[in-house]
Amino acid sequence: MKLLIVSKLDRYARAVTTISKYVQVGKALGHEVAVFGEQLSNVPSVPYSLDVSKFDFAIFVVYETSDFPDLPYLARLLDGMPKERRVIIDCCGRYNETIRIEHDFNHLEKMDGHQGWEWIEGLQAVSDRILQPTLSPLRTDVRPFLFHAYDPGVAAHRDSTPHQATQTRPGNGDGGKPYGLIYVGNNWQRWTQMRRLLEAIEPLKNDLGPICLAGWDWDKRPDWAIQLGVRGADVDPALLDRLGVERRNAIPFDEVIEFVGQARFTPIFHRPLFNHLGLVTNRTFEMFCSDAIPLLMLPQDMVEAIYGADARPLTPGDDVAACLEDMLRRPDTYWEAVLKTRGHLSVHHSYEKRFKELLAILER
């Protein structure tokens, strides 16, 4: 099958990793995947195409309005691909009534100029088939499809035992890694949870080692957010300074796993809206490929549903400091949870499996 993905790729954000994996896995399974548009140099591993007629389906991967092409490309796409052969993957739960969780929204007119109804009716105009990367969509006319997935071939070390895992990672047992904790992600709707984590682990700062946040807008609340009165990019530079937190620019998608592997731990957060809707992201899975122990800062039911019961020890719950302290003391135990969870992800959430799920949806 030939799939044409419609989305705006960015080396530092959104679904670039997932889409590049679909290209690889699709090819390995005898299919063809390309992204709609003129060939861009920012992601050379992904082929682009404007030849709409050559493809069987158009898969719109939607985060923002800019994921839809502008005219005249939009016209070429809509004219060349009939509605019944278009599918939307709604990655941010836009196809819902307006929802606000803390400072997080699924529709934010002052940022993109589109009201909630425009999202719903606009997506309906493009396709009858709307998928969301959650196990439990709110709307009955949405199909669950997790979209993002785990690549077992990329795990930095393929250890067979927890002891081996600990031994092959200087620092997970004896403090030799350059960072105690790295978080890779942009400062968008993460601050409330990040603050909670940082404040909780402050007493362990010396034992843990340096902390690094890599992504956009961790230095200060950006001017545009102040001008628009948007709280989703809040940050407290004084707290970060007090903890000596290193802030770095965003990391390109193909360097994330290696970069995170320089830390002993890496937290996995989802935006408040995503927690509410059960939406997964690329990072939900990708962090298990890295050479760091993931801290699952996620709702317990989501952890079990996605990662399986073996991931429970990786969920710090309310007492993050105590959990982290124990992780520092007994890394073998937690690496065992990581390895078992990787096994679970390989069986249930590999890109190969995901790709086949998508084909099944398309063929129905």
Partner: protein, 351 residues
């Protein structure tokens, strides 16, 4: 006829006043006019609809930005209204060859950008309308579009107190060269003989921080210090419903127009709003151009040569100029009413 306007809704800029007037004229003449969208508290008196297929024609009012026509917004309209029932009002002269006036004001930064606009227009609609009597591009329909609404006129007994001798309502968008080269030198010479002066609009208080990234610094150029020295008060833009009352705070109102649109002879809402205000309008057009829009009395209100002397004369002998203003208003009622404009629009769409 049922007409749905689709536009970037801006409460303090663009063609929103005209749309409000089309709705009123439509109600009077049995046409149904609405603006695409849902009811919006920022536009309390406008009628909205999202049912594009319920209208005979969709008219996109396109100014100097395309981004608001997002790929999320457009498919809903395009899938319900065939191209033959879609028209574009090209309010900013984008459907033209690249034109740079005096190496300054321009419609396109480069040929690539122009091509995007042209292909976008060609895809969107069968008919392209421009508010000028003399379109440059073959196939473009000349349609004045903007008009005069006598019901919006503020009479002396309902006017706000005069707080300024001179008021200018409009954004600093390609206007600085004319203001700095023609208007300010004249005002500087007579400043001590004038009372308050106020410029109302965006970007008179500085170049916006994002202008450089868009290569549009020239469009927003302003010398804030010079304004301060000349004692010109700057106020932020007002919503469209307050434009005419705000103009009415000045004994004299000045109308400037960006050079590109003046060269293309494009009309704008401002051409007519200023004659609804309780003020003496002076339009910075050459007298022939002023006469072509406003009739013979328009020559008297053209601010072309001898700007300083003219301003002093108008302020010292307002009665004389009020007579010219009344003559222009009568001309506008006869030739540029929204009732007439609506009939012209209906005819252009149906043709």
């Amino acid at each position: 006829m049922k007409i749905l306007f689709v536009m970037e809704k801006r409460v303090n800029a663009g063609s929103i006043q005209a749309v409000a007037n089309y709705m009123r004229a439509g109600d009077e003449f049995g046409h149904s006019i609405a603006l695409y969208g849902r009811q919006d508290p920022n536009f309390p008196r406008l009628r909205f609809s999202t049912e594009a297929s319920a209208f005979d024609y969709v008219v996109f009012i396109i100014e100097s930005r395309l981004q608001w026509m997002s790929g999320l917004r457009l498919p809903r309209i395009l899938s319900r209204v065939p191209r033959g029932r879609r028209a574009i009002l090209d309010a900013d002269g984008m459907y033209n060859p690249t034109i740079a006036v005096e190496g300054y004001d321009r419609n396109h930064a480069n040929e690539r950008e122009r091509l995007v606009w042209l292909t976008t227009f060609d895809y969107l609609a069968d008919k392209i309308l421009q508010p000028t009597p003399v379109p440059c591009q073959p196939g473009v329909i000349a349609l004045a579009f903007y008009g005069y609404d006598p019901a919006s006129q503020i009479r002396a007994d309902a006017a706000p107190p005069k707080r300024f001798d001179i008021v200018h309502v409009g954004h600093n968008w390609w206007r600085w060269r004319e203001v700095s080269n023609s208007l300010l030198p004249a005002i500087e010479r007579i400043r001590d003989r004038l009372d308050g002066i106020c410029f109302v609009g965006a970007w008179w208080d500085g170049v916006p921080p994002w202008a450089r990234a868009l290569d549009l610094e020239a469009a927003f150029c302003v010398e804030v210090e010079r304004f301060r020295r000349v004692r010109i008060e700057v106020r932020p833009p007002v919503p469209y419903s307050q434009v005419i009352p705000t103009m009415s705070e000045g004994r004299v109102n000045l109308m400037t127009q960006r050079p590109l649109l003046r060269q293309l002879r494009f009309l704008t809402s401002k051409y007519f709003e200023i004659f609804c205000a309780n003020t003496i309008p002076l339009v910075m057009l050459d007298p022939d151009h002023a006469e072509s829009v406003y009739g013979p009395a328009g020559r008297e209100l053209a601010l072309h040569d001898g700007i300083g002397d003219k301003l002093l004369d108008v302020l010292s002998r307002p009665h004389k100029y009020r007579e010219s203003v009344e003559q222009v208003r009568r001309h506008l009622v006869q030739h540029h009413s929204y009732q007439r404009r609506l009939q012209e629009l209906v005819a252009a769409l149906a043709a």
